[in-house]
């Protein structure tokens, strides 16, 4: 991907060299990098237990490498990054909690060694199907990742089963995972 982006980067540099209010908007469809089989998690049956059975953090996507647009960092300075995630949660039986977490890191750091970028807590209610969404601004560390050549990504799920009643059965499908990077001209 390195030099494929040359022309884009050149164009971006040209665009950003104009008036100071020009922005480069980079929309990264992170979900598209995930294999479709990894975008959904079917869970259950999780039997009821006092306090609920806790699965711990289970990788849904385990340390995947994502190629980005190399060279962007040399011409653009990231002003903000917003990460948006949405998921469809279908609960057939039982109740419980699930927490989806997205981790992102640079090439040399394991994603799970860094704080989660996005965290989406889902309350599971029997017979309900909900679409949940979260959009959060990312910190400087994450913002920097999106203008690098490569980043590493992990998605985990943490399930807590019911304390009583029917066993928990359900399915979580990641519907969207997108990063929107707003970059301005970098001082030369």
């Amino acid at each position: 991907m390195r030099t494929r982006a040359l022309i884009l980067i050149a164009v971006a540099a040209l665009a950003l060299a104009g008036c100071g209010d020009h922005n480069l908007v980079l929309k990264v469809d992170v979900l598209s990098y995930l294999d479709p089989t990894l975008r959904a998690l079917t869970f259950g049956p999780v039997p009821p237990a006092p306090g609920g059975i806790v699965s711990g953090e289970v990788p849904l996507v385990d340390d995947m490498s994502i190629n980005m647009l190399d060279g962007l960092k040399s011409v653009a300075e990231v002003q903000s990054v917003t990460i948006a995630m949405s998921a469809i949660v279908a609960d057939s039986t039982g109740s419980g909690l699930d927490t989806l977490r997205i981790y992102a890191s640079d090439e040399s750091t394991p994603p799970l060694a860094t704080p989660p970028v996005v965290q989406l807590a889902v309350a599971l209610t029997p017979g309900h199907t909900d679409t949940l969404a979260v959009s959060v601004p990312a910190d400087a560390r994450v913002a920097d990742l999106f203008v690098k050549r490569k980043m590493r990504l992990s998605v985990t799920t943490s399930l807590r089963g019911p304390e009583s009643g029917d066993p928990l059965n359900g399915r979580v499908v990641l519907r969207a995972l997108e990063a929107v990077v707003i970059a301005g001209r970098k001082a030369l």
Binding site: M1, R2, T3, R4, L6, I7, L8, V11, A12, L14, A15, A17, G18, C19, G20, D21, H22, N23, L24, V25, L26, K27, V28, D29, S32, Y33, S65, I66, N67, M68, L69, D70, A187, L188
Partner: protein, 440 residues
């Protein structure tokens, strides 16, 4: 240093005028569509050396162009510091296209939109917005041979002058796939994308030695007589700077645009450069002829016939390291002999007096482009001149001009308004030119 010499030379020569596709500094000529002025005038002898031999009209004038475009520039100078928020490369580029001599009344706004790049594992698309206008629909070609203002003197029909010369040419092309992507289409898998850029620039200075005069003349050639005038100008030049570059960037996408392995991109550049120390001598010839009879005149000028320069260049190649992705420039030869050629340019013009109107037209064959100009002038009494014209510019757009002249005894004022497309986005702009005219 080399690049600086070339750029400064180009800037100086563009400011010096005489380039058909550039800003016209004579308000009279500008008002008449930029046409080669009948009987000789601003820029005429540089296009057709024979005009040096045409006898001046009885009321021949000389003009002093007024740099009214400097006023707004001084009032609101551009920002040259790229670190400042109001730095605007479009403004600077358009300033290069339009040196601040004429006053720019209107022009395109700098592209003000954001650009959006959408990236997915199998998706890459760019929305350039207004910036798309910066890329011409077809291959981008530009170039010119600029013979700068000659400073010298004449003795009888002979003349000698010192003059600079700048020649530059560039051709940028995309293959269809890349063109589609730049136009907003998505990058496709299993597709080859390629961009080629080839260009050269050279600057030289030297002596012009020439002769221009009448081969035959009877009576008053501006009246009922006739005259045939010819001229030849030999150029003995010393090369100051040379640079040529031939670049190719190509890559092919795989089944998946953003697959795990980076795409191999092939970049190869082949460069020749020389500074003043590598410049040799060169020479060429300009020839021209003007025929005048019964109020009609026709001229033909051909410049830079056989103009060549010899250089001792540094030859280098540039390429990308497929492993690291870094770019490397490697000198593969020093004092490599190279002979450069200046393209032949030509102009053909004609003018006629039709009653109270002077009508003129020309066709100018430049580098990669042919332009045409037409213009007319009439005087109301000896006080007010009305002028109008039009021209086909280097972007193949029809432009229009209008102007007037006011004469008060020996002094006059000329004003001209002209449209043009000398800007990055090739949109129509409007400029005002002004000058003083001094009459005998």
């Amino acid at each position: 240093m080399l690049r600086r010499v070339l750029v400064l030379s180009l800037l100086a020569l563009v400011a010096g005028g005489g380039l058909a596709g550039a800003q016209t500094f004579s308000a009279r000529r500008m008002a008449m569509g930029g046409v080669i002025l009948a009987g000789g005038g601003a820029g005429s002898s540089s296009a057709n050396v024979a005009y040096r031999g045409v006898p001046p009209a009885k009321q021949a004038d000389w003009a002093l162009p007024l740099p009214i475009g400097v006023i707004p520039l001084l009032a609101d100078p551009p920002q040259f510091d790229p670190d400042k928020p109001d730095f605007n490369v479009y403004e600077l580029a358009n300033l290069l296209y339009n040196p601040p001599w004429n006053l720019q009344l209107s022009g395109p706004d700098a592209p003000g939109n954001d650009i959006t790049i959408a990236v997915g594992k199998d998706r890459l698309a760019v929305d350039l917005g207004d910036l798309r206008e910066l890329f011409p629909e077809n291959d981008s070609r530009m170039g010119a041979v600029v013979n700068g203002p000659a400073l010298g003197f004449g003795f009888h029909h002979f003349f000698v002058a010192a003059a600079p010369l700048v020649d530059y040419k560039n051709e940028l092309s995309f293959n269809d796939a890349l063109r589609a992507a730049v136009d907003g289409g998505e990058f496709q898998p299993n597709t080859s994308y390629e961009m080629k850029d080839k260009g050269h620039g050279q600057a030289a200075a030297g002596l012009h030695l020439g002769w221009a005069g009448a081969l035959m003349q009877s009576g008053d050639p501006r009246g009922k007589g006739m005259g045939l005038y010819v001229g030849a100008r030999a150029k003995l030049m010393r090369g100051l700077a040379y640079g040529s570059s031939d670049n190719s960037v190509a890559f092919a996408t795989a089944d998946t645009l953003f697959a795990a392995d980076p795409v191999d991109v092939n970049y190869l550049g082949h460069h020749y450069t020389a500074g003043p120390e590598g410049g040799g001598f060169g020479g060429g010839l300009d020839l021209g002829a003007v025929w005048m009879a019964g109020g009609f005149e026709a001229g033909l000028g051909v410049n830079d016939i056989g103009t060549t320069f010899k250089w001792k260049t540094r030859e280098s190649i540039a390429y990308n390291d497929p492993i690291t992705g870094d770019y490397t420039q490697e000198v593969i030869g020093r004092d490599v002999p190279l002979t450069s050629k200046v393209p032949v340019t030509a102009s053909a013009n004609a003018a006629a007096r039709l009653g109270r109107f002077l009508v003129a037209g020309d066709v100018v064959r430049g580098v990669n482009v042919t332009t045409g100009h037409v213009g007319a002038e009439t005087w109301l009494g000896d006080v007010v001149a009305l002028r109008a014209g039009g021209y086909m510019d280097a972007n193949e757009m029809l432009q229009y001009t209008l102007g007037t002249g006011l004469r008060l005894g020996p002094i006059g004022v000329d004003l001209a308004v002209a449209s043009h497309s000398r800007n990055l986005s090739r949109e129509r702009g409007l400029e005002l030119g002004a000058g003083l005219a001094f009459y005998r």
